[in-house]
Structures are given as C-alpha cells and as structure tokens.
C-alpha cells in the first residue's frame, strides 16, 4: 500500500497560517512513517486528510495510486485502520462488539466475526475468554489501548493511521505496548502512518521519520540517517543531542543476543556447577525441553541445599521481550544493578541474553 501526499495544504480559516503547508511525502509499502514535531505543527491534520476526516484545501493524496478525494469516504475509511490517543471505545458495547465494529459494517458472517475477535484479542495479548464480554469501563488504560489497536486491525486493513496511540499511557505501559506493537507489526507488515510528538518514540517505532514544523516538512529520512545527518538546527534540537543514547532506541536486543548457558531443572547440581564454570557471567539458566524459561542459577543458588537444579534455582526476573530495544534492556539492567538482561519470546521461551558489554560494542560498531 503506497501512500503519496502531493503538495498537500490545509488552511482552516481564510487568512490563517496554513496548518499543513505544501507537504509532499511518499510512504512505501510496509513502512511505518512517523510524523513528528512540536504540538500544533499539523501532524494530526495531515493524518486526518488521509481518511478524509479533514478535506485538504489544496493538493492530492493517493492511496495505492488512487486519488482519495474521488473515493467514497465511508469505503475509504472501512479500509483504513484508525487509532487515536483518546481511543474512543464505545462505552455501551462489549469489548467483542467494539472490535467487531468494522466487520459488522462490512456484513461479515457472525461466525467469522467471532473468530476474528478472538484472534485479535490473543494477538494483542488479552485472553479472549476473560475479555470478550467485558465493558471498556472495566479495563485499564493499557488494556483499552490494546483494544483500540485490535479494533483498528479488525478487518485487516492494509493501511493504519495512529495518532499518538500510546501518548496517554504511563512510561512503563507505553514502552511495553510499543514493543508489543513492533512485534505484531513484524507479523502483519501494515503500512502505517504514526503521529507522535516524542522523538524517542519516533526513532523506536519508525522505519521512516517525517519531521514537521509549522505545517512544513523539514526532513524525511530513516531513523539512522536522521541521527547521523540531521538536516538543520531545528532537527538537531528536536533530537536533543546525545546520539549514542538515542541509538539505544534504534537497535533491537535481537540483533546482539548471546547464546545463554542452560541446564535443565532435572539436572544435578554438579552438572550445573560444571556449566557455571564455563560461563563468564556466572549465570546459568534453567530451561525445559521446549526452551521455556524456568529459573535462574547463580553461584549463590548453587551453595544452597538440594539435589537438583529445580530445587535451588531462583525465579528469573530481568526479562525483556524480543521486540525490546537496547534502551529497554539497559533500563532493566540499571534498575536492578545487574550486567545482563534475559530476552524471552512468545510463551516465555528463552531467546538469549543481552549483556552490558554487548550493548557497548553495538554502539561502537554503529558509530563507525
């Protein structure tokens, strides 16, 4: 789904400064284009012109080479997912009915709608059995925003518009949902236009970043290009210096994973001690046959009484999920005062270990 904005201009009141000023932009299939800039610079207005909630004063928008102004707005919107910061769940409908909104408009058969609802609930990490029949008012902010995303994905639209979708959440929930969304996006590969005023979020979520100022496009580049070659002073200030730290948002833990030393909970302590000696980190992980992470073995746990690893191992904390960035991993390490973080995927499957050294190496490589 290729999106083209051509000389797009929006003037709300004649005589006012344009909210969007002669903006030209092309978003490629599968890209996440993040519109970023200070509040009031025209990001929302730009986005709403794509699904015709706002009509442009001038210029054209092409979705898949079709001029949107020639399309029926209802048909257009049914094919574009839409998520906003305030979420706007329908309070009088259950979660399932909320998610089913667009499929119902499209008159899908009941059975298909039900299956789709359950599939989406699982995809956003909510148990369908538990959540299907609840009301939006029973959910936490983070859960509501997951429903907002699920609702936008319901009819599998090729294009998604997301206006500060995680803006109203607390920092921990936000980072968690960002990671989760990155993981989902890896599977569904939508074309996304994503609005935020937070440059860190832009760098983390975007494959392309469009920096806007007073309705105009200042720079359009990949996050990497943006950090290494900011177009002007405005962009430099927006990024706020400290490029190495910013890069932490850019690199995923998956890229620098180390193979962990593992044992099985059934193994004897002697076997575990042998493995421990090989491990420079003095860290051994207990996993079962399917690589589900079961426990953590450290020198101090090996000094405890017991026969099997299962008797002495500790509960593993310090985990991040596989979509996390180096920034997330570092944050976990700093919070706990340890030099490592465990990376787990779906169903708590151990994927590897990230160490402080590995993070430093990655930043140095990247610098070159």
């Amino acid at each position: 789904m290729v999106i083209k904005l051509e000389n797009l201009t929006k003037i709300f009141q004649p005589g006012d400064a344009p909210a969007v000023d002669n903006l030209t932009l092309e978003v490629d299939e599968g890209d996440t284009c993040v519109l970023v800039g200070p509040s009031g610079c025209g990001k929302t207005t730009t986005m709403k012109m794509v699904n015709r909630l706002i009509e442009p004063t001038d210029g054209k928008i092409y979705v898949e080479n079709e001029d949107v102004s020639k399309k029926n707005p209802i048909q257009l919107r049914l094919n574009i997912g839409y998520v906003i910061q305030e979420i706007g769940l329908f309070p009088h409908m259950s979660i399932a009915e909320n998610i089913a909104t667009v499929p119902r408009e499209l008159r899908w058969p009941k059975q298909k709608i039900q299956e789709r609802v359950d599939e989406l609930l699982s995809m956003v990490g909510l148990d369908p059995e538990l959540f299907r029949n609840r009301r939006p008012s029973d959910l936490s902010g983070g859960q509501r925003q997951r429903i907002g995303v699920a609702r936008a994905l319901s009819a599998d639209p090729p294009l998604m518009l997301m206006d500060e979708p995680f803006g109203a959440l607390d920092p921990i929930t936000r980072s968690y949902l960002q990671n989760e969304f990155l993981r989902i996006q890896e599977k569904i590969k939508k074309t996304i236009i994503f609005v935020t005023h937070d440059i860190d979020e832009a760098i983390k979520m975007g494959t392309k970043i469009a920096i806007m100022r007073e309705g105009k496009l200042v720079q359009y580049a990949t996050p990497d290009e943006l950090l290494s070659a900011p177009a002007d002073e405005f962009v430099v200030n927006l990024i706020g210096g400290n490029y190495s730290i910013k890069r932490l948002h850019l690199i995923r833990v998956e890229e620098i994973l180390k193979e962990p030393f593992t044992v099985s909970p059934e193994d004897s302590l002697d076997e575990a001690k042998e493995v421990m000696e090989k491990s420079q980190l003095e860290l051994v992980l207990a996993v079962n046959g399917e690589k589900h992470l079961e426990g953590l073995v450290t020198p101090s746990s090996l000094r405890k009484e017991g026969e099997r690893v299962g008797d002495v191992m500790d509960t593993p904390d310090l985990t991040v999920d596989s979509g996390a960035t180096l920034n997330d991993a570092l944050s976990v390490m700093l919070t706990n005062g340890e030099g490592y973080a465990l990376v787990v995927g779906d169903e708590n499957r151990l994927q590897g270990v990230v160490t402080l050294n590995a993070i430093m190496e990655a930043l140095q490589d990247n610098e070159k």
């Binding site: 707005p73 209802i74 919107r77 906003i84 706007g88 909104t101 408009e105 609702r151």
Partner: protein, 234 residues
C-alpha cells in the same frame, strides 16, 4: 418503604384538620365513595392512562426527532429549547383554550396540550444526551467508516438513551398532572372527578380524583425511575 411511610403521613395530615367537629368527613365517606363508584373510577383511570400514553408516544416521536435535529444545527439549538421552555410556562387552561381552533374540544385537544408541555424535557435531554458524548467516541466511529446514520443509530442514540429516559420520566409525571386539567374540555380521565366534585361540592369525589392522579404519577415515576437505573450508565 420510606415512601409508604411518608404517604401515611400525608393522609394523617389531611385527616387531622377536620373542620366539622365530630362528623366523619374523610375516611368513611371517601371509602364509601370508592366502594360505590369503583366502576366509574376504573374507567376514568383507564382514560387517564390512555391520554398519557398517546401523548407520551407522540411527544417522544416529536421531541427526540427535534432533539436530534438541533444536535446537528447548533445555532438553532438554544432558540428551539427556549421555545419549548416558554411553552411550558403557559398556564394549562390557557394552552387548552388556545388549541381549540386547531383541535376543537375533547381528547385530541388534551393530547395536543400534553405533547406541547412534554416537549421541553424530551428535546433538551435528547440534545444534551447527544452533546455529552465524548468527542473521541464519535471521531473514532466516523474514522472507522460508519456512515452518519449508523453513527446516530448505533452510537449516539444508545449512548444518549439514559438521559432521554430521564426526560421521558419527567415528561410523563408532568403529563399525569396536566392531564387533570384536560378533563375540563372533555378529554376524560380522573380530572373529571375533581371538576365535578367542585361543582357538586362532593369532597370524596375531589379526594378520589386528586389521590388517584397522585398515585398514578408516583407509580409511573417509580417504574420509569427503575427502568432508567437499569439502563447501563457508563
């Protein structure tokens, strides 16, 4: 329970200010009248209900429609609500008299007058019910591709329903009382008992009319209030 208790008080109050010493004047003649004329009272009660029912149905149809329309045309919203407010201040007997050229004398005139009085709570509550919906809810409905008609029927009206119900409740209770006056021009109902009672100086008749109307209002208020609470409040 609290209500029953205070109703008891109400009767006691009425019974204690006896003007003619020694003579039974309230309970005995009142119950004697009830027993003697129960058939007539029943018919009038049914007539009263008929008047309220017809008027409420028409008033809801008009009031909700007007409320919806003015929610789309903001500039006329307050003028329209003000007009319905002015209608409500007009004394009922004057309203009925002014409606004679259009509706003549009788049931239709009574219905028309009641409808006009019921408009304010219905129009205003429909309007505010729709206006109070969170803008984000409407934006996301529109953004997902619901047509305006679907947004109205699937989102706006269901969300405004509790507020509209509150308006219906106010309108009905109002109508029960004003329905008494409509009896004067032959619209039927329990008001006839009061007017005839005044003419014939028949106090049991007056009390019957007043108390039955009051009971109908209280019962309908309780039923509608219960229904309103059962509607999901978000």
């Amino acid at each position: 329970m609290e209500l029953l208790y205070s109703m008891g008080h109400y009767f006691m109050l009425a019974a204690s200010s006896n003007p003619q010493e020694g003579e039974p004047w309230f309970f005995e003649p009142f119950f004697a009248y009830l027993v003697r004329r129960w058939d007539r009272i029943l018919v009038m009660t049914l007539e009263h209900f008929e008047l309220i029912l017809v008027a409420t149905a028409i008033a809801i149809a008009i009031g909700v429609t007007v409320g919806v329309i003015i929610s789309y045309y903001e500039p006329i919203a307050y003028p329209v609500i003000n007009v319905t407010q002015v209608l409500m201040t007009i004394p009922s007997i004057a309203m009925i008299a002014m409606l004679i050229p259009l509706f003549g004398i009788g049931f239709n005139n009574g219905v028309a007058a009641l409808v006009l009085y019921m408009l304010l709570p219905l129009v205003r509550n429909t309007y505010t019910g729709i206006r109070e919906i969170e803008p984000a809810v409407l934006e996301s409905a529109k953004g997902m591709g619901m047509s305006e008609l679907r947004v109205l029927t699937k989102i706006k009206l269901p969300l405004a329903l509790p507020v509209i119900m509150a308006g219906i409740r106010v309108a009905v209770v109002l109508g029960v009382g004003i329905g008494a006056i409509a009896a004067y021009i032959g619209a039927g109902g329990l008001g006839s008992l009061i007017f005839n009672g005044i003419e014939r100086v028949n106090y049991p008749m007056i009390w019957t009319g007043a108390i039955f109307i009051s009971i109908i209002a209280i019962v309908l208020d309780l039923i509608l209030g219960w229904g309103e609470k059962r509607l999901y409040r978000y």
